[in-house]
């Protein structure tokens, strides 16, 4: 595959490094020093130029490209790059944006801006923070269909109330599907009569809320949060963390110093208590009992302030701290001095793009059990073998065993049951063994 990457910042370089092993990578970058650096440092072709200009794209041989990744630090540039590419070539375009407004427009009409796949830095960073915050009992968790569907993997312990139950007995949730059981390194596709044993690993797919409820049942003692979440900083990331947590039924407090921004946040987040103050005010931290919180998420605009806020909160008693760290080289350092988890938004987005490019046609992929199985998100069209008959029938026309875990239709969650009919345009989240993944992907 020939891949063009526009913008060689941290994200672009990271993706280029990952893809260069298996693909032909061309980088378009304005800064001549960076171009030189990349040409010597990586096994890629770096071209100097402005990615929004046709001449630069043509120099990179855009008509021959299979995929163009627009990953500059500027949203509008990335969108214009995608549109320009679409004007002259059939390449699959991926654009990285920060602003979620663009993402929302694109989600409404997947043809918008000439972008085939859009990744939103802030939203991805927030999702990855929420994963860390939200499900301590889960071994792994991933989001699909714009956050409406979640896949999670749980250990079934000796003391778990569902050990010894059959799948049918344990399945008391409307919007949850038991996708797989991993037992002794073997993958089982469960039926209603399959018995769940202690020591099994369960892969479930469902709405975030039902997954959370299930987490409470499968491991009542360590199930998710017992305490409260405090978010420091109402940046885009802080806002999305609060929003995603409240979607999951976790209420949080959010501290924002700027009065206008605080007011906006309070309007947008009805379930979140917004506090307008400086989070480094120790008197305030004590008065509002911030120390009693279980997790503090620092999402201020500066790495240093995030470090300070996290350390102060831990000093007054907060158990766990998660901080957004913009400079990737600080991550290790901050984790060494006391922050429990550092999240670097650029790293998150680079991982997402790489994962996507590897997955081929699927919208989103998650690897389960070190690659034993995959969870794919696919948008089905009229020609898909899944369309037109109930799942009970259509599932047999696929080349391998799959489990339809969830369906997202016009932004609504649809519970997949035997009689459900999949419609064109639906986003289907399915579970498949890795060895069959390519066959299934191709068939869909």
């Amino acid at each position: 595959m020939r891949v063009i990457i526009v913008g060689a910042g941290q994200v672009g370089e990271s993706i280029a490094a990952d893809l260069s092993e298996a693909h032909d990578v061309v980088i378009v970058e304005q800064d001549p020093d960076r171009v030189e650096e990349l040409n010597y440092g990586l096994d890629v072709l770096a071209v100097e130029g402005d990615g929004t200009s046709l001449s630069a794209l043509e120099e990179a041989d855009v008509t021959e490209a299979d995929m163009v990744i627009a990953s500059t630090d500027d949203d509008e540039t990335n969108i214009v790059v995608s549109s320009t590419v679409k004007a002259v070539s059939d390449a699959f375009t991926i654009a990285r944006v920060k602003n979620t407004q663009y993402l929302r427009t694109w989600q409404r009409s997947r043809a918008a801006f000439g972008v085939d796949f859009m990744v939103c830095t802030y939203l991805l960073a927030a999702e990855s923070i929420v994963r860390v915050v939200g499900l301590p009992a889960a071994r792994d968790a991933d989001m699909f269909a714009d956050g409406r569907v979640e896949m999670a993997e749980f250990d079934v312990g000796e003391e778990s109330p569902i050990s010894g139950q059959s799948v049918a007995e344990a399945d008391t949730y409307d919007s949850l599907t038991f996708a797989a059981i991993v037992r002794d390194e073997e993958l089982l596709i469960p039926t209603g009569t399959t018995e769940i044993h202690a020591g099994d690993r369960l892969v479930v797919i469902g709405t975030p809320r039902s997954v959370r409820a299930f987490a409470g049942d499968v491991a009542p003692h360590e199930s998710a949060l017992s305490g409260e979440v405090v978010i420091v900083g109402g940046s885009e990331i802080g806002y999305h963390v609060a929003r995603l947590l409240s979607e999951r039924g976790v209420t949080a407090r959010l501290i924002e110093q700027d009065p206008d921004r605080a007011r906006w946040l309070a309007e947008e987040l009805p379930d979140t208590m917004v506090l307008e103050t400086d989070a480094t005010d120790i008197e305030f931290l004590e008065r509002e009992h911030i120390g009693d919180a279980e997790v503090i998420v620092s999402a201020l605009d500066s790495d240093e302030k995030n470090l300070l806020a996290s350390l102060l909160a831990e000093r007054v008693g907060t158990e766990r701290s998660i901080a957004v760290i913009d400079q990737s080289e600080y991550v290790e350092l901050f984790e060494a001095v006391g922050i429990d988890v550092g999240v670097n938004p650029r790293e998150v987005v680079a991982e997402e793009i790489t994962r996507f490019t590897r997955a081929g046609g699927a919208e989103n992929v998650a690897l389960v059990e070190n690659g034993l199985a995959e969870v794919l998100e696919v948008e089905v069209d009229d020609d898909s073998p899944l369309v037109g008959e109930p799942i009970r029938e259509s599932i047999h026309s696929l080349p391998a065993d799959v489990v339809i875990g969830a369906i997202s239709r016009d932004g609504e969650y649809v519970v997949p049951r035997g009689e459900t009919e999949i419609e064109p345009g639906d986003h289907v989240v399915l579970f498949v063994e890795t060895e069959d993944a390519d066959k299934v992907s191709a068939a869909l």
Binding site: R263, L265, A266, P270, M273, V274, E276
Partner: protein, 534 residues
């Protein structure tokens, strides 16, 4: 450019509205012709509206209305139409010297103050009356219909009607409607304001016609009791939808069957509902109506009040004796108490009817609720302060404001414990900005202040004139006129009237009704020096 108020432009538009008032005056003319009555009360009125209207219009040939002029125009329009509205009453009582003999010389409306009170009560949709006898024998059918028509015109708003039909108001129209329409702010249903005004009036007219047909249908089916006929069906249609309450029957809705009472209840509920919501519900999204915070609060307020009243009536919540100044006798008391106590249907019907009638500020009575015991009466007194929904024809404070007041107070309590918390006041998912909440808090406080001052002034005036009123009479009378409800308690009860107040008190109540209909501010603002200053 001067920022002085262009009062000529305002008055010129008042003139235009007056001129067009001659058109609805043709309706009582038709009625008088049909019943073979004299046209004397109306032809001079039509002449006056045309002449005065034309004269005022000449003050400014091309009136340009801005926000400031809007307040004056709206306030003055309501006074002007109320003044013109007195003419048929005065002619009926006095005749026209040398030309027409007095028709009903013993009418209490012979007194110009009484005539003005009745006219303002009509246009402001209050429904408080100073008529000595309410029937179509002591007054002509034409004049009684005029009395009901004033309410119908006042209900959806004369100025809204003007915006709907006068092309010259296409620019300042939104400001005018805002100054007149009940509730905080107006909702533009369509891009053009005149179109919005036409939609509102069209819906108002359509629902009125439906009610008239239903009432007359009940009569044709023989289910309406002895008194309903085409005339009464029209009269009640014209006074239900504006939440007015002027019935041509002295015994109000008690004169009709239980079926009529049940039919009128939903129409009062609709009249107290935001017409913009009704329009949207009919145009395709009824869910919006059911999910509307104010509509739910409005239904809730009526449901709670109905539950309380039903319980009280069912268990015999009637006055133990006839108090001094009551409008009923011992026989009526024992008869109604016996009919209702322990009987669920009449207890529920009268409780629901009265709860809806008072909350929507219609003021109809399905029975003389003055016979009810103190707890039930006080419940109704409090209900006078609730009012209908914003954008309805209902008066008083309005449900939406009470909801916001409650939410603001709750927020204050919360921020006392958490001083840094930012809590916008939310209505149905939308956050209100602080200016809007401040406006609503100020209005509510202003309304209550106006009520206390009003009651105090009426006490003083009654004492000065040597008329003895009970405390409940004065308080309920103030709440009722300011809130455009109509009936109050004891001698001001649904079967009584405001006749015994001294003229000075009646004039003061004219101001209360005027201010209440315009929601105080447009009138009050015209009285401040800042308004007139350059």
């Amino acid at each position: 450019m001067s920022i002085r108020v262009d009062y000529r432009a305002s008055l010129s538009l008042v003139g235009t509205v007056l001129k067009y008032l001659s058109v609805p005056l043709l309706l009582p003319v038709v009625v008088a012709l049909y019943y073979g009555e004299t046209l004397a009360p109306f032809l001079p009125t039509i002449a006056v509206t045309l002449l005065v209207g034309w004269g005022l219009e000449r003050l400014a040939p091309e009136p340009d209305i801005a926000a400031r002029e809007g307040f004056l125009m709206v306030a003055a329009t309501w006074l002007a139409v109320a003044l013109v509205g007195t003419i048929p009453y005065l002619i009926e009582a006095h005749g026209i010297p040398l030309l027409v003999e007095p028709i009903h010389p013993d009418s209490t409306l012979a007194n110009p103050t009484n005539a003005l009170f009745e006219s303002m009560s009509g246009f402001s949709t209050t429904g408080a009356t100073v008529l000595g006898s309410i029937n179509v024998v002591d007054h002509t059918r034409g004049v009684m219909l005029w009395r009901q028509l004033t309410q119908w015109l006042g209900g959806m708003g004369i100025v809204v009607l003007a915006v709907a039909i006068l092309p010259e108001l296409s620019v300042g129209g939104a400001q005018l409607m805002d100054a007149e329409a009940p509730g905080p702010g107006i909702e533009k249903l369509t891009p053009k304001i005149a179109e919005t005004a036409r939609v509102l009036w069209g819906a108002y007219l359509a629902i009125t016609v439906v009610e008239i047909l239903l009432l007359y249908g009940l009569d044709l089916a023989g289910m309406a009791g002895p008194n309903m006929n085409a005339y009464n069906a029209v009269a009640h249609g014209l006074t239900t939808m504006p939440t007015g309450g002027f019935s041509p029957q002295a015994r109000s809705i008690e004169a009709f069957s239980a079926a009529v009472q049940w039919v009128i209840i939903p129409f009062m509920v609709i009249a107290g509902t935001n017409f913009a919501l009704i329009w949207q519900a009919v145009a395709g999204s009824p869910r919006e109506l059911l999910e509307d915070t104010e509509f739910r609060g409005y239904l809730g307020a009526m449901a709670v009040l109905t539950a309380i009243l039903t319980g009280l009536l069912f268990t015999g919540g009637f006055a133990s004796g006839v108090p001094e100044g009551a409008t009923f006798d011992a026989a009526y008391l024992s008869e109604t108490a016996a009919a209702i106590t322990g009987n669920l249907e009449p207890a529920l019907r009268h409780a629901l009817f009265q709860a809806v009638s008072i909350v929507t500020t219609t003021g109809y009575a399905s029975m003389d609720f003055d016979v009810w015991g103190a707890p039930a009466k006080y419940a109704l007194l409090f209900a006078m302060f609730v009012g209908g929904s914003a954008g309805s024809t209902g008066g008083s404070v309005k449900v939406i404001r009470w909801i916001v007041v409650a939410k603001v107070l709750r927020r204050e309590l919360f921020t006392t414990a958490h001083p840094e918390a930012v809590r916008p006041v939310r209505l149905g998912g939308n956050a209100l900005d602080d200016r809007a909440t401040r406006g609503i808090m100020s209005f509510t406080l202003l309304y209550l202040s106006m009520f206390f001052i009003g009651a105090f002034v009426l006490f003083l005036d009654a004492a000065r004139a040597g008329v003895d009123f009970t405390v409940l009479e004065v308080i309920s009378g103030t709440a009722s006129t300011l809130g455009n409800v109509g009936p109050a308690f004891y001698r001001l009860g649904p079967m009584g009237g405001y006749l015994r107040f001294p003229d000075s008190s009646k004039l003061f109540m004219v101001v209360l009704m005027w201010a209440g209909r315009l929601e105080i501010l447009p009138l009050l603002v015209c009285l401040t020096p800042e308004y007139w200053r350059r």
